[in-house]
Symmetry: D3
Amino acid sequence: MRANDTLLDLFLELQILDRVPRSGYVLRGVAEPESVTEHSWHVLFLVWALGARSAGLDVTRAMEIALVHDLAELRIGDLPRVASRYFPAGAKKAAEAAAMAEVLAPLPERALGLYAEYQQGATPEARFVKACDKLQLMIKVLVYERWGTGALGEFWDNPENFPEGGPDGFPVVKELFEALRARRREG
Amino acid sequence: MRANDTLLDLFLELQILDRVPRSGYVLRGVAEPESVTEHSWHVLFLVWALGARSAGLDVTRAMEIALVHDLAELRIGDLPRVASRYFPAGAKKAAEAAAMAEVLAPLPERALGLYAEYQQGATPEARFVKACDKLQLMIKVLVYERWGTGALGEFWDNPENFPEGGPDGFPVVKELFEALRARRREG
Amino acid sequence: MRANDTLLDLFLELQILDRVPRSGYVLRGVAEPESVTEHSWHVLFLVWALGARSAGLDVTRAMEIALVHDLAELRIGDLPRVASRYFPAGAKKAAEAAAMAEVLAPLPERALGLYAEYQQGATPEARFVKACDKLQLMIKVLVYERWGTGALGEFWDNPENFPEGGPDGFPVVKELFEALRARRREG
Amino acid sequence: MRANDTLLDLFLELQILDRVPRSGYVLRGVAEPESVTEHSWHVLFLVWALGARSAGLDVTRAMEIALVHDLAELRIGDLPRVASRYFPAGAKKAAEAAAMAEVLAPLPERALGLYAEYQQGATPEARFVKACDKLQLMIKVLVYERWGTGALGEFWDNPENFPEGGPDGFPVVKELFEALRARRREG
Amino acid sequence: MRANDTLLDLFLELQILDRVPRSGYVLRGVAEPESVTEHSWHVLFLVWALGARSAGLDVTRAMEIALVHDLAELRIGDLPRVASRYFPAGAKKAAEAAAMAEVLAPLPERALGLYAEYQQGATPEARFVKACDKLQLMIKVLVYERWGTGALGEFWDNPENFPEGGPDGFPVVKELFEALRARRREG
Amino acid sequence: MRANDTLLDLFLELQILDRVPRSGYVLRGVAEPESVTEHSWHVLFLVWALGARSAGLDVTRAMEIALVHDLAELRIGDLPRVASRYFPAGAKKAAEAAAMAEVLAPLPERALGLYAEYQQGATPEARFVKACDKLQLMIKVLVYERWGTGALGEFWDNPENFPEGGPDGFPVVKELFEALRARRREG
């Protein structure tokens, strides 16, 4: 694969994202796990639905960030979280940025900027998408637990999966994480 | 299932959309076919990427329409196209609207309005999403043909699948359909 | 799809029923769920095995009813139970009847009559098949629970799933439901 | 597994047949191949639909034979055709009969008799089911070829797959095989 | 299928082993169960890793035995354990040997000898592979239990699955079985 | 995941390799593609069968190399080939080596040495395994093409996939590649 020559090349390549399963679930035995495309759609929906309740947020911009946030996985794959440990600091991010530059070649440069913004967590919008990325993760984990598939207990013990409102203090995100944990305790 | 009581109920239910395969592919033997969630993401991406090239379009609004356009399938399923023939005129649309009212209960009423707009094709934004919905269909069909899966030839012969620019004359959509057909002829 | 022109068209179309998963399981996260074809075979087997123990029943006729009872799903899909709520009363039944008229076109009219009989619950044979339809459902639910797949608890709380002998008082059906519940309590 | 103690044990065990794929397709690379349950249902449908057009046939009896004809695969599995070559003559048939005696223990002895009748091809009804068993095979093969899955060409060259009417001269079976080959030639 | 004429025929046929799922898991509802190829690789790895800790063992020879130990399943399928009960004593072993003679035709005769050695448990190396075959079974069972898939409890109650060191007294195998049971008790 | 504390931890983790599909096939639409475990087994078999015909090769050592050659994918995943382009030269190899040090922690240090030998292509045995790795790739590609799954034509045009005998001149490898191409031309 090369840089995409045309918009149609890009659209064709994007269809492949449906066949990239989320590695965190695969490695823990979830049957028929979520694809990267599916994850991306759910994050986008959260951003839209919760963004409207977060004062001062540019929701359209956050939606655009959500739309592109995982596209590097088309070229890099969905690396298991543990994989980062074995690469030099920053190598994975740099690889993703390089891959994105090729994937998004037929789009205006602004698209690539949105991706950089996400990677660097440079704006409240980027950080809001990151929080929704984790919220979607834990929502799916609860669904899989109800369905009886996968060994997913450790996700609940990892504080990185619960950014809550983070430094920006997004109250609606915090509320949702609390509701989610309550729902799990109820069984 | 009832009207969703809370945002969290809605988000939990939405995860199920990943398990609803697109019936048009299932009935034609495609292996591991696209889910409704995946289709929805790709349509949204097209709307975003092509909307910026379509003068006068409110792209944010079109993205929001794309986000909700297939959610009724959570409650109704993805009915085969032929199914409409056996219901009274308008029954399927009415059922979808009723289902959406329950699914989207925890969101502001505006969300339901976006859905009605799409169903009625009431605005250029709604019609643009409909065109992108078909464009995504035919992009995926070409990908499946390249992968050797499914008996999909009849899709190319159905004029309903090629809205081109439609009455609004969206040139970028028309160009993409042409490029797609050219790509198929090349093999 | 049109009315089937020939018997061979009908037989070819019927193969597709293997790719239609039962929506009740799909929506509750069962991995690799039963197809409509598989469900139909098991219902037929129950009708045959239990019919012989039900005095006064025309077992051959009941088997024929079981054979056709779910074929409309070829054209309509397997609508989630909740879907009925959103259609006008009787619309789903009417759609199924209309679809069946086309599907069964190459068979003698008697076949369509068997389907109507089932839909209306017009005879003890039709009601016996309906009871076996639910019995098969709950047998499969127990099997899936043993296999650890799906969130299926609510099925046990829904009285519609336990027609027992119904107004006809089929004692063998009643006994089987009791045995099934006992087996579940034993774990 | 032992002899089934009760009818419920039998019904529970039968559900497993849905997870036994037809080995002929597995070994030739068909994606998501037919289960033994699915095959059995389609054979039964053929017997019912074509039996009514075959003068002098006891269709009910033929349907019962079709219902039990493949149940031994619950205990033996669906052995690849080539496997028979490596067992002493008659060993596979004897094994199937012994397995069936245990599987069908809770049913009246008549059920086991139907199975013996099929194995020995002792009656026109048994031979009719065998012919429909092959007809279903070739119908599915054509469907898979249209779907682009599996390397199935050799099935069309094996005369054992085309019993036509056989010694009993079932004209409707012969006609269907001819129609099927014609359909394949048309592409 | 015939005896393989050339090495390439053999290598092509072996690829099919990936599509033969282990029947013990299929029959107990494991989702996406291990293939025979996967099982074979894990047994080989155990033999290599544990063989080095077993004094006096010819590890290379044991690895070679592990490599061929399940290849007959290409032609015979992976018969459910219960199937043996229905065949004459020794028929299954004889069938496997006959199948192997054809499968391995393009390899030096020595290969077939390794298989006979395994079947007869004629050497410490053959018995070591048999012990590792069971150890791999129970490791996978524990993994599946953690993943929540399949009804596998009975495997832990079957003494045949725990050969421990057997008559040869392989202490490292015994230790692993103990560690495995301890890990399961910990949950 | 950390360094494995015990042999049992290692064996448990290795089972996950069955759920890591080979990314080259996933990205080209192969249905139900080969797992890394399956690939590894086939490479090992080739090394064993062809190694015996390659004068001067230490076949046992080559088998050991084949056994460990892809284990880093447990921690890194099976990166698409194109991914390497986006990392600094050598970063992927270094990451794999670091991951392997943790995965193989409970084994004697010799195991890690075998892996380094493979990565560096330091010995004829390592280079022989690399040639067999490609040979297995192209054998599987031919099998998938026969099965009608995936868009795999470009594999035949990539000279990297045909190391033939390489600098060591392994004639048996060269012969097999030739036989494979001839087989494909025959169709």
